[in-house]
């Protein structure tokens, strides 16, 4: 209830100002690359500045969106879900290439440090179909900015960051970019980070709740990314190679005395692409090779399991601008997936190909997009997965846009679902989501204040949801027998205020999610019509940043409502609310600039768990020195 009142107050703030002032409509310059997702869908953009202030993708999304992050603890596995769907229903793309493992369909968000990308775009619900099949909840797009070849101010740029924090955490990251003559561009990014993660917690699983230190949680990550691009007339051609290595110990829950588990992840990602436009055609052709290796070791029970996957992904996105009102969209994706795991009898391979065709345009005040994605995955053929979205700018209230979108997307069974021994079920059908949303967007700048808000209702129906359950002889096996209904409400509000040398910005996000089983193998099951486990009904976060000259103070508040952890909703994890605060100082010299930033995480020293019996850090600190040349 308290939370609702906060939201309500924020709306009052917004509405009062809507009536008071007036301003002109902002004109957004037309950018070819950004045409990928029409603004008529719900999206969230996280720019470079936001991206740089956190360590990894999991933390970035936790602090800036209302997608749900399930984290096993600092540096440990983190998965992301949108709108009450599962972690396997979130697609993650790197410059348009889906990185999801063909084995479990998921992504470990703790393995994506922010120095390796510049922007993140979230596509919710039906808009995820633009990025490919499988995004039944949404997709996360990691983007590296293309160089600005017209920038003649400085040919070489150097950035270096060093962070030191609690639990023996040390992070080095750097970037060198060079814009050579004849329009060549080189860029190198490096990262090295380590942490003991030996955080102190109160063990509520033991008599007298003793203070304990987390054991076996050390982490080491390193990697580099190399890009070379060249511009030839209206065309940019180049490659980007990304190597990443992570080695970590896996800590146990508070209830387990002994453990000795480790996990090594290694990724090789090579992307070659060319973008450009000629006459009325814009194009982006990319080819990528993604190789992931995961090794899990458990010395106590003598398990050493190796998993290898290979993806070869080719995209041709060709858009034809029929006239200034209509664009023809055309995206072809030829993808090869291959994986080998100790749990399979043999190596498995398949094609995952799809073809998107559609149109996007505007008619006076109406923006519209309509398209279809046809997919062939192995023996599965789905000719129809349509999506439509409309955005209408009100004639008298031009700051207000009404939006509706709907679409269908399919998620194909993973190799684990199909081939895991024992249990894998090769008769599985693809999961199907029917998604819809309606929202209102308002953006207004008046005088020194800017207000932007977007409020969206969503409704989705997921059928053939793949559920692993024990079958005869207690062997776990997947079936398509579950149906889930997701509905809810998402709201964001941003207020920016500028007065002389003072900048104030406040941003709030709220999500209300109901995600229920509406059909189960047995309808006497107590899980029927109950909220899915690990889906919070309420999620809220807010950030306030006050900047004066070169100094800024930020405050972040993150609320996660209670999450059920048993399907009959008898067990739950209580809600948690965490505050972070940071102080940042810029020091600008002639050619160089420094930034010193001090952050206090979990300011009020809250004890909480994101996953049952996995301790999360109490109050902790981080100091970052950034250097720019």
């Amino acid at each position: 209830m308290k939370l609702i009142s906060v939201i309500f107050t924020l709306f009052i703030v917004q509405n009062t100002f809507g009536q008071l002032l007036n301003d002109t409509i902002k004109f957004e310059p037309f950018v070819i690359e950004e045409l990928a997702v029409s603004a008529t869908y719900k999206t969230t953009n996280l720019d470079a500045v936001t991206t740089k202030s956190v360590e990894n993708l999991a933390q970035l999304l936790q602090e800036n969106s209302t997608v749900f992050i399930k984290s096993y603890g600092s540096g440990s596995l983190a998965s992301v879900s949108f709108r009450g769907t599962g972690a396997g229903h979130t697609r993650v793309l790197w410059n348009g290439i889906s990185l999801n493992s063909p084995m479990n369909g998921q992504i470990d968000f703790s393995l994506y440090p922010t120095p390796f990308f510049d922007k993140v775009e979230l596509h919710y619900g039906a808009s995820g179909l633009i990025d490919g099949n499988g995004a039944l909840g949404g997709s996360v797009n990691l983007q590296n900015s293309l160089p600005n070849f017209n920038d003649s101010t400085k040919s070489a740029k150097l950035n270096y960051n060093y962070s030191i924090g609690s639990f023996n955490k040390q992070i080095h990251s750097g970037k060198v970019a060079y814009l050579g003559t004849k329009k060549w561009f080189y860029e190198t990014r490096i990262l090295h980070s380590e942490a003991e993660n030996d955080l102190v917690y109160y063990n509520f699983a033991k008599k007298e709740n003793p203070e304990e230190r987390l054991q076996n949680a050390a982490l080491k990550q390193y990697g580099f990314q190399q890009a070379i691009y060249k511009k030839i007339k209206n065309q940019t051609i180049g490659m980007r190679f990304w190597y990443f290595n992570s080695d970590r110990n896996l800590p146990s829950t508070m209830l387990v005395e002994k453990n000795d588990e480790t996990q090594q992840d290694e990724s090789f990602r090579l992307l070659i692409n060319t973008t450009g436009f000629k006459n009325k055609i814009s194009y982006k052709i990319s080819s990528a090779l993604i190789h992931d290796k995961l090794t899990y070791n458990n010395k106590l029970i003598d398990i050493n399991s190796k998993n290898n996957s290979l993806l070869i992904d080719n995209h041709a996105d060709i858009n034809y601008f029929i006239n200034d009102k209509i664009t023809f969209l055309n995206k072809i994706n030829i993808r090869h997936e291959q994986a080998k795991a100790d749990g399979y009898n043999s190596e498995h391979k398949r094609f995952n190909n799809s073809w998107l065709t559609g149109f996007s345009g505007n008619l006076k005040r109406l923006n519209w997009t309509v398209f279809n994605r046809m997919t062939v995955v192995d023996d599965y053929f789905k000719p129809l997965a349509p999506s439509i979205s409309l955005g209408y700018q009100l004639p008298k209230l031009e700051d207000v846009t009404l939006k509706v979108a709907a679409g269908i997307n399919h998620n194909y069974p993973t190799f684990n679902d199909l081939y895991w021994t024992p249990g894998g079920n090769s008769d599985l059908k693809p999961e199907e989501a029917k998604m819809s949303e309606a929202g209102i967007k308002y953006h207004k700048a008046f005088g020194k204040t800017t207000i932007a808000t977007e409020n969206t209702f969503f409704f989705a129906h997921v059928s053939n949801w793949i559920l692993w359950q024990p079958s005869a002889g207690n062997i776990w096996s997947p079936t398509n027998l579950k149906k889930v209904e997701n509905k809810g409400f998402e709201s964001t509000l941003t207020i920016k205020y500028k007065l002389n040398k003072v900048d104030l910005s406040i941003r709030g996000n709220y999500a209300y999610t109901i995600s229920k089983n509406i059909d189960l193998p047995k309808n006497t099951d107590d899980a029927l019509y109950k909220q899915l486990i690990y889906v919070p009904q309420h999620q809220f976060n807010a950030n306030a940043k006050l900047t004066y000259k070169n100094t800024s103070l930020s405050y972040g508040y993150y609320y996660t409502g209670l999450r059920y952890i048993s399907t009959d909703n008898n067990w739950y994890l209580p809600a948690n609310y965490i505050s972070n605060i940071s102080l940042s100082q810029d020091i600008k010299l002639k050619t160089t600039s420094f930034n010193l930033r001090f952050q206090v995480n979990n300011l009020f020293n809250q004890t909480y768990q994101s996953i049952a019996w996995r301790p999360m850090p109490l109050r902790n600190y981080m100091l970052t020195l950034a250097f720019k040349l």
């Binding site: 509520f204 209830l255 387990v256 024990p470 002889g473 006497t524 008898n570 994890l573």
Partner: protein, 354 residues
């Protein structure tokens, strides 16, 4: 401007209010139906359901049931001790007014007082404990998964005092008869015989694939149920003569997919019951396996089986989707369902108290 500032201030104040005004702090997983009222010790509280919970979730619980007035108390260990039972409670054993609860993934055994369920001792240091068997008043054996050891526990000071090294990597159910302990060796498909006086292995007898449970009948024969592994071989029910150390009878299950478990015997030591998707009943004098079930599962997932020593009623747990509370069904001797009650998540063991 002033109105704007005011609204911001009001908004932020309310924001601060949200985190400062929360009343009672709760940490970690909470269980709604685990009662907060005190459990009144009663001699009629005669059934304890050991609920495994989910691996890694730490939601193992004990459900207390009174078969006379049918009262159910959930989460009694947490109530009595103010800390959770642990991760994956495997089995329990009643001895000497005490109950030993084997908590597999927490690698510990909680020795609790039968009268009020408070913890008398927590024995730690096991590898992956499965079952507990007292061999006399001062000593007990503990079988283990992922270990070649059977731990010897000193029941006077509640510590591990030694171990017996086996060839096995997974020892399961055990029973004692005269001065010999009979241990199911799941990894080598053997029955391990141990002299309980000097803790020496006497013999390893080959049985069927994966012996998981065993009982002693009134003729002092041991019945061993072997589940056959995952499509490795057909499951078997074996009658073993401990005096002659010979297998007297081997009954093979017809279908390779069958994976029977939970062999139990009634008070007369004449009738065997086990789960093979459904509940089956068989007399010890029968020379073939029962062809039809005694109670059909009707779509339920039968997960554990018990027989009340006095009422002779059969208790069976339905684990449902394994991520919610199980339902215990109580069947009368005439195969009729008597009544049902709810227990915790994955009720894997049913213990009857004298």
């Amino acid at each position: 401007m002033s109105k704007f500032t005011l609204n911001i201030v009001v908004g932020l104040t309310l924001l601060m209010f949200t985190f400062s005004s929360c009343k009672k702090e709760k940490f970690g997983p909470q269980c709604k139906n685990c009662e907060e009222n005190a459990i009144f010790p009663s001699i009629q509280n005669d059934v304890i359901i050991v609920n495994e919970g989910n691996f890694g979730f730490g939601n193992a619980t004990l459900t207390l049931y009174n078969s006379t007035n049918r009262n159910v108390h959930h989460g009694i260990f947490q109530q009595a001790n103010n800390y959770p039972l642990g991760d994956v409670a495997q089995s329990a054993y009643y001895f000497n007014e005490k109950i030993a609860v084997v908590v597999n993934n927490s690698n510990k055994i909680e020795i609790i007082d039968k009268a009020d369920f408070t913890s008398i001792a927590t024995i730690t240091g096991f590898d992956s404990p499965r079952y507990f068997l007292p061999i006399n008043l001062s000593t007990a054996y503990v079988s283990n998964l992922f270990s070649n050891k059977i731990n010897i526990v000193n029941l006077i000071n509640n510590t591990i005092s030694g171990s017996i090294t086996t060839n096995s990597n997974w020892t399961e159910e055990m029973l004692i008869y005269n001065d010999t302990a009979y241990v199911c060796d799941m990894s080598n498909n053997k029955l391990i015989l141990i002299n309980t006086t000097n803790h020496q292995i006497i013999a390893n007898i080959s049985v069927g694939i994966q012996p998981n449970s065993l009982v002693l009948d009134k003729n002092n024969n041991i019945w061993i149920l072997c589940d056959g592994g995952f499509n490795e071989a057909n499951a078997q029910l074996i009658k073993f003569n401990p005096t002659l150390r010979t297998i007297e009878q081997t009954l093979a299950f017809g279908n390779i997919n069958h994976s029977p478990s939970d062999l139990i015997i009634d008070n007369s030591k004449e009738n065997l019951y086990f789960i093979n998707n459904h509940i089956f009943k068989m007399n010890i004098n029968d020379t073939s396996l029962p062809t039809s079930n005694w109670v059909s599962n009707n779509g339920e997932v039968f997960y554990s089986l018990g027989i009340h020593p006095i009422t002779q009623e059969i208790y069976v747990a339905d684990a449902k989707d394994f991520v919610q509370n199980s339902t215990i069904s109580v069947y009368k001797n005439n195969q009729q369902l008597s009544h049902q009650f709810q227990s915790g998540i994955n009720s894997g063991y049913i213990l009857f108290l004298p």
